[in-house]
Symmetry: none
């Protein structure tokens, strides 16, 4: 694949997003230079192959600022000053604030266009980075009155180079959107997971996939999220207030489930959930590229090594692998992600060798 | 695999759970007879191979009642009367209610022991059934003052035959537990997904994995869940009320994020979510009972098999394993979860053998 992006890309901040951008662009031979205030974080990102260290004489065409939300505006302003010919963007989760802050300090916002790749993980840092983090994900580009369509097009090319789906949205509309699809879900997941803090072990031992899914993002970094939520508080508040109103109705219904209307309140709440989840468009992302095979293995040492050795003998390359091991269970579940064209053959081969493929 | 369960098993209700039980037991040659009030549902389950139709002369050793919550007690009472030598169980999500209802009508509860497999899917019916639905999942068995350890042992054998992990819990403790790990998550997911009903398309178009995960179970059947929530309302209410109190604090903080204490309220909420999610056993990446080692491997076939083979040679048992493989990156990352007491030795041994442990 040859890159749409031409010229040098400078990535400032080599955490999860910055390093993932570097990995993706480097893999298609874009000249990526990296910088980070933490020498050890920068060294890891360079080691991983995300790019080379920034040096004297770098002349970036695009600067991507991937730093924590509370310093985005300052770092963008500094980069605009340092690289007077570059287009500067950022990847922060809230877009109206940085633009306003830049304008307030008189920064040359005509060379700034904010963006926001809708990708992330509960864990941060370069060690969690992946070149395919953005694959199939929306990547919002937020043009403004002072920016040009050509600048947005440059950032769209960069997003396309990373496999993302570019979406142009003004900052205000972006911030309204992420309040409902990202910020409120984060808070609700955290509030839900907090119920487990004082739950007895015999309760948490019964955790199933529903609990795991609903609370997964509750593992996210509090420091990062306090910044995001504070920056978008005015837009998060009305959505969360509506949820509280519905919650109050549910609490009343649960207080007397036999009362007139109580069953209907519960049914309406659950039906609204059905309607809401139906509005989420078809699944994006990496699952579309691979087929998953589920193999059951005995919970004995060496079984997984043997399985992977045999897969290697069969000449199949794994795209991803996951082990589900439920404490106390006599068997483990290995999920193998492989390219669709080899899945059928691998399944048959493994079964012939005596593996249980579910 | 030969079955632990001996004798005939009668499954009443061939929806998702009943048909899955039939499929699993039939696959290990247990004699399964099926019954359902709906002839078409029954025919589908028989067609899928979940068992044979109930007939005159059936003499079940165990009857599994897998019908909607609101008719469980009635059907269990009928089965106790129809099959005076059988042990009768049910698989409903709430356990104290059916037992009390049976006692109230003078049913012979000494032959009834409730159970609850912690497994399900958003979709119901025999067409969604899977023989491996219970694999590695907890299966609660709820003994009571009138039941015997031998009866619980019979149901444990049945659960083990289906690959589940049997857990004995009295009905009251079970119902407290599922309020927090299942019923509140369902309501919260529904309340969250309901925010999407009136969201603009440009918002839902930005949906990411976090939103998908947190709202997945909001796709569940409202009719079923109204019954479950009504049956356990008294236990769901206090958990949900606590959540509402925390939510009110968050709303106040969002209303004025610069006010003294507001940032702390948000941080505490997010940190409590971290603590809660860490209590879920076996969860990838944040299992407190294991130590994670990160090993960097070249992206060449056979490297991971070689790593796991060497770990086996070192006599170390893996508790969990995860492969991070980024298609564009020159190296893969293998996360090994091991017991804390062996982590230090394993790290040193692997490094001595030339592996890069991050």
């Amino acid at each position: 694949m040859s890159a749409r992006t031409s010229g040098q890309v400078r990535v400032v901040g080599t955490g999860l997003l910055g390093t993932s951008i570097g990995l993706g662009l480097s893999s298609i031979d874009v000249d990526v230079v990296l910088d980070d205030v933490s020498p050890s974080t920068l060294a890891l990102a360079v080691d991983y192959g995300a790019g080379r260290r920034a040096a004297e004489g770098d002349r970036p065409a695009i600067v991507v600022v991937a730093v924590p939300p509370d310093v985005v505006a300052d770092v963008v302003a500094a980069e605009l000053a340092l690289h007077p010919e570059a287009l500067v963007t950022d990847v922060a989760s809230v877009k109206a604030g940085p633009l306003a802050a830049l304008a307030a300090v008189g920064a040359p916002t005509e060379r700034y266009v904010g963006s926001h790749p809708m990708a992330g993980r509960e864990r941060g840092g370069p060690i969690a980075a992946r070149a395919d983090l953005f694959l199939g994900r929306p990547w919002v580009i937020a043009p403004h009155a002072g920016s040009t369509p050509e600048q947005s097009a440059l950032l769209e090319s960069l997003a396309l180079d990373l496999g993302a789906v570019p979406v142009r949205l003004p900052a205000d509309r972006h911030d309204d959107a992420v309040a409902v699809v990202s910020h409120v879900p984060q808070l609700v997941s955290s509030l839900l997971a907090a119920r487990l803090v004082d739950a007895p072990d015999h309760a948490t031992d019964l955790a199933g996939q529903g609990l795991r899914d609903t609370t997964r993002i509750a593992g996210s970094d509090p420091a990062l999220w306090v910044q995001i939520l504070s920056a978008n508080a005015a837009r998060v508040l009305p959505v969360l207030s509506d949820l509280r109103d519905d919650l109050d109705a549910v609490l009343a219904a649960l207080g007397d489930p036999a009362a007139p209307g109580a069953q209907r309140t519960l049914a309406d709440t659950l039906a609204a959930g059905n309607d809401g989840v139906a509005r989420i468009p078809g699944k994006h992302g990496i699952d579309l590229r691979t087929t998953t095979l589920v193999v059951l293995v005995d919970d004995r040492p060496g079984q997984i090594a043997r399985l992977l050795t045999e897969i290697g003998e069969l000449g199949v390359n794994l795209e991803d692998l996951r082990l589900e091991h439920s404490p106390g269970a006599p068997i483990g579940i290995v999920e193998l992600a492989v390219l669709p064209e080899v899945a059928g053959g691998l399944e048959a081969d493994l079964q012939r060798r005596g593996w249980r493929v579910a």
